[in-house]
Symmetry: C2
Subunit: 259 residues, 2 copies
Amino acid sequence: MRNLLMKVNYDGTHYDGFQTQPQGNTIQDKLEHAILHLTGETLKITGSGRTDAGVHAYGQPFNFITSSQIPLERWCLALNARLPQDIVVTEAWEVPLSFHSRRGAKRKTYRYTINGNRFPDPFQRRWQHHHPMRLDIPAMEQGLAGLLGTHDYTSFASRKSTKTSHVRTIFEARLEVDRSMCRPGSSDQGVIHTYITGSGFLQHMVRIIMGTLMQVGQGKISADRIPVILAACDRAAAGPTAVSKGLALWSVEYDENEN
Amino acid sequence: MRNLLMKVNYDGTHYDGFQTQPQGNTIQDKLEHAILHLTGETLKITGSGRTDAGVHAYGQPFNFITSSQIPLERWCLALNARLPQDIVVTEAWEVPLSFHSRRGAKRKTYRYTINGNRFPDPFQRRWQHHHPMRLDIPAMEQGLAGLLGTHDYTSFASRKSTKTSHVRTIFEARLEVDRSMCRPGSSDQGVIHTYITGSGFLQHMVRIIMGTLMQVGQGKISADRIPVILAACDRAAAGPTAVSKGLALWSVEYDENEN
């Protein structure tokens, strides 16, 4: 028996998120189906976490225990040949049998992408939230800084969250503005990527943070309000949940000695 | 009457090229339909040139004569509201009645994109040709240099070309390698963009150049052969026609005093 750790990139547009669902239209279902097709084994994979319907991922880790003798270097090509084109397995390692890609995850980074240009980008529109009205980037950066640290993030969690504790740590967060696709001489604001790295995230947490930050950028709420919203521990204190298509799981990190 | 010049971005994946066809599934047909819907005018637009089925464009110019009184600044939003999401009009100007977006074009640049990484990119796959085998980039650069200048490009034109002269000028050509999406420690070669700027291009010309250059990159033909292939004035001397999805019209330039 071997424990295999792999990474998968996916365009989540047409899927109901990572974790298996009865309808079967999830990344996990597609991966398990490809493994069954390849090895004949009906098994359950473990993902590094859930993603919402429509959310994307760059290098999301997952692992599974297999008795297949297929050499490590053949897995990616063999699985990709059995997967839809919008799901691509890119790396595979053998890890200790004790390795668990969700429990072992120490830091996760999500990226949320806003197209702040006047017109949508036909090439990137499936993974950008189009927001053509001007956003106050320094105010958003200030608001984001107010979320750093270890807090009870109940204000930024779905009311449906079933977790017993809403305490999490946000280690780092930053905005990056890419102006390479702005039309010369226009008032285009560029493509705004927000990267948020934390110990873990509650259901809808990054999307509620982004929905609230956009209200800061629009001047509807002051950046100073963020710590107040956080302290309220009340979902009603925060802004709306931003659309899922702008969100991508960007990276997941483990302790060096765990894989 | 006004002559309006506009620019359009499109993801050409689902279209039969720019120029109108009886089946109506072209960029021109969609634009003319949107103009009819907006103004009630049945008119013909003039594009800066044709593109093949499946080819994309960033800022392709087109113009048309209209009697509509709609203010210039409202056109883009109004047309975009009437266009499919993969076609986006980004700019509009009024130009002299004599301006013609095809005849006036002085320099056109195409970009061809090869994903040289081991695995396809689920996000960019619709506009990248995936070529996971190693390419000799310096040899491709040398081959490309052999195409510069004013020549009869019959070897690099579709046999179906109906043009009386195949003499064109390639002003500039260069390769650019983007390694930002390579997997760390992998043998990934990066995303290879080839930019070719010329006075005009024959049918399939950029795609045949790229199909030939890839053979140079694969070591199947030597870069020194390019001038020989060019001198042959025979389509059979060149390599295959590269797939259309990797190609995008990148820019079209006019004389300063023409618009």
